[in-house]
């Protein structure tokens, strides 16, 4: 194993074999299509996130992998092998349930050993493995407790240890941190990442929390209505969303509709009497037509005086100011009547803020700051 390639990106390698591949998978329940002709490859050691609103099909995808649902059409392969006829108890896949599904009548140690006792493993090996898992999730002192004697965070760790005990090839995590409060959730996200890295197990997480997906995942699949809209690294998804749905789902965004012309740089005309904007084509091939400019609030500067040397500057009026401690978000009405959000890091004290409600301000951004989308 060479550790020379610093960047982990098997999906970019032409000859990499996927661990899991969804091959045109459709799943319908009666008339409702939960997963719609979906294909995606997931590689070994990945921390893959399925992100989408409830009802987008992400949980169905996970349940098909675990074996609780069978695809209506298409095949799922794990290590090249078709999974269709393997029952859940024969798959090298384990799942951590959203409700944790800890067995209330068994102690923490017995919960963790539950899967091991149903394998060929010998008794001393089971004890050793259970010890090891208890240590991994730092619950050694709680081995004899029953689940109802644990806190939410401890239960979450028991569930994790239990699903990892059998060393699955793939671990499925269904909204694993949904029941935890925000502080604990953030801390647990890092624990999850550390555990995933140290074990090298492939993790697949289902979540509706975009921040969580951004933090933990190597790649994110953004889903909507049974389809994957975009699969990419968190950075890619954030900086280069392929359409308005993805741009809107991940973080805050201003979307400006325009008509584009030009070859090297796109000139965006927004309407009669409105100042044209400039944007680089980015990953789009140049071509005239209607499109949308996605502009992240933190990439828009607010200033009282007219800015110099930027490609785009618009005058507007402050409608609203949202102060959230570390950041301030200005809602500014621009010439077209649209509200554009601009975000500033509060480096100075609140009392020193020079802009207030109803103030005329300038918004400016670089032509490379936004991203153009045709959908």
């Amino acid at each position: 194993m060479s550790q020379t390639s610093a960047v982990f990106a098997p999906w970019a390698e032409a000859d990499a074999k996927p661990l899991i591949s969804f091959d045109r998978v459709t799943k319908s329940f009666g008339g409702f299509i939960a997963v719609d002709d979906l294909s995606v490859d997931i590689y070994e050691r990945e921390f893959f996130a399925l992100l989408g609103p409830s009802g987008c099909g992400k949980t169905t995808m996970m349940r098909m992998l675990a074996g609780f649902e069978t695809p209506t059409e298409g095949e799922i392969r794990l290590g090249g092998e078709v999974l269709r006829d393997q029952p859940p108890n024969a798959r090298p896949v384990n799942m951590m349930f959203q409700s944790y599904a800890l067995f209330p009548h068994l102690s923490v140690a017995d919960n963790i050993a539950f899967g091991l006792k149903r394998s060929q493993m010998s008794k001393p090996d089971i004890t050793a493995r259970t010890e090891q898992m208890l240590e991994l999730v730092q619950l050694k002192d709680f081995a004899k407790r029953k689940p109802h004697q644990l806190s939410g965070g401890q239960r979450q760790r028991v569930a994790l240890a239990r699903s990892l005990a059998k060393s699955p090839k793939l671990l499925l995590l269904d909204e694993p941190l949904g029941a935890l409060d925000k502080k604990l959730r953030q801390q647990t996200q890092f624990e999850l990442m550390n555990i995933q890295e140290s074990l090298g197990t492939t993790f697949m997480i289902v979540t509706h929390d975009q921040e969580e997906a951004m933090t933990v995942a190597s790649r994110i699949a953004v889903m909507d209505k049974g389809k994957i809209i975009q699969v990419a690294t968190p950075g890619e998804i954030y900086e280069y969303p392929i359409n308005r749905y993805v741009a809107d789902f991940i973080g805050d965004v201003n979307v400006i509709e325009a008509h584009a012309t030009g070859t090297d740089t796109a000139t965006l005309t927004r309407g009669e009497g409105l100042k044209p904007l400039e944007a680089s084509w980015g990953r789009l091939t140049a071509g005239d037509g209607k499109l949308w400019l996605a502009l992240r609030p933190e990439k828009v500067q607010v200033s009282v005086d007219a800015p110099q040397g930027t490609s785009n500057a618009l005058q507007g009026k402050v409608i609203d100011i949202a102060y959230s401690g570390n950041l301030t978000t200005y809602h500014v009405e621009i010439d077209s009547g649209q509200i554009v959000m601009a975000q500033e890091v509060n480096r100075r004290h609140l009392a020193d803020r020079s802009i207030t409600w109803e103030d005329p301000v300038w918004l400016s951004w670089d032509k490379g700051a936004g991203v153009l989308m045709r959908g």
């Binding site: 108890n89 349930f97 067995f103 149903r118 109802h148 699903s163 059998k166």
Partner: protein, 293 residues
């Protein structure tokens, strides 16, 4: 103050309707049989005071009961019939409760109602109906003779089998309802988790569903066993004169022999015997509450 009054109500209820009658029966059991009205001595005489009364009480009747195998046998046969009926109710009730708990949610209220439905008719009438079914020229024998399954009518009526059928029929809902309650609130994802960790459907049932429904099994078993031991109406109507369950023995002593002291002593002993399972049952219920399940 208001809270104390509120708590006092159930205590008062139990005092008047349970503890005082209990003490009266206990006192009678310690008295001696006499040709009197009521048929026992001593009786409380305000002139002599309470102590004179107490000093005349003794355990003679209890000694008599233990010396006569009739009562011991009645007691044992009651326990035996109650145990058999409890096991039968469990064997019949568990699959029913399981099916109810797994039925579509919108059907479940209807199914629960169907289990309770027999209570809409008087218990006594339902037991009488069983006479009509089980007697020699009853529905069951007529039907079996008609199908040719039997040549001679079955003699079920007036046997212990008829008593068991009656008890099982009557007490089955008391087994089904607590079982259904525990099975119904079981999280389906537990079974999925068990399968995910390597269990087959069957082994998931044995290692998860069954142990988790244990509180329901225990509650249902006690709810059937405890009243079945003292059951009187069913053995009287279906069991005929040969049946000697403890409840029936008590009735015979009281009404036929007019021996109130023996009847009271039998009742006391039955209660004493049932206190053990009742206390066990209470302890189990408490443990369940503590576990928050």
């Amino acid at each position: 103050m208001g809270r104390r009054v509120l708590i006092a109500i159930p205590f008062l209820w139990l005092l008047i309707l349970f503890l005082i009658p209990f003490l009266i029966v206990f006192k009678i059991s310690l008295s001696d049989y006499a040709l009197a009205r009521p048929p026992y001595l001593p009786q409380y005489n305000p002139d002599e005071g309470l102590w004179a009364l107490i000093s005349q009480l003794d355990f003679e009747t209890y000694a008599f009961i233990f010396s006569d195998s009739l009562y011991i046998n009645a007691y044992l046969s009651s326990l035996q019939i109650a145990a058999i009926c409890t096991l039968a109710c469990l064997a019949l009730g568990y699959p029913m409760a399981y099916a109810m708990a797994r039925a579509p949610k919108r059907w479940q209220p209807l199914l629960v109602m169907l289990v309770i439905l027999p209570f809409w008719t008087s218990f006594l009438i339902r037991v009488y109906a069983w006479i009509g079914i089980l007697k020699t020229e009853g529905l069951l024998n007529v039907f079996l003779l008609w199908t040719g399954a039997i040549a001679e009518p079955l003699a079920i009526y007036n046997t212990n089998i008829a008593v068991c059928i009656g008890i099982i029929y009557t007490y089955l809902p008391f087994m089904i309802l607590p079982l259904y309650a525990t099975l119904e609130r079981m999280d389906d994802s537990l079974l999925e988790a068990a399968e995910d960790l390597g269990c087959s459907r069957l082994s998931a049932f044995w290692s998860i569903t069954l142990p988790l429904s244990l509180p329901g099994i225990i509650a249902g078993s006690f709810l059937v066993f405890i009243p079945a031991v003292g059951e009187f109406v069913i053995p009287d109507l279906l069991g005929g004169s040969s049946n000697l369950m403890i409840g029936k023995t008590l009735w015979v002593e009281f009404f036929n022999n007019r021996d109130w002291t023996v009847a009271s002593a039998v009742a006391m002993l039955m209660l004493a015997g049932l206190i053990i399972p009742i206390v066990l049952f209470q302890r189990q219920q408490e443990r369940d509450r503590e576990a928050g399940r």
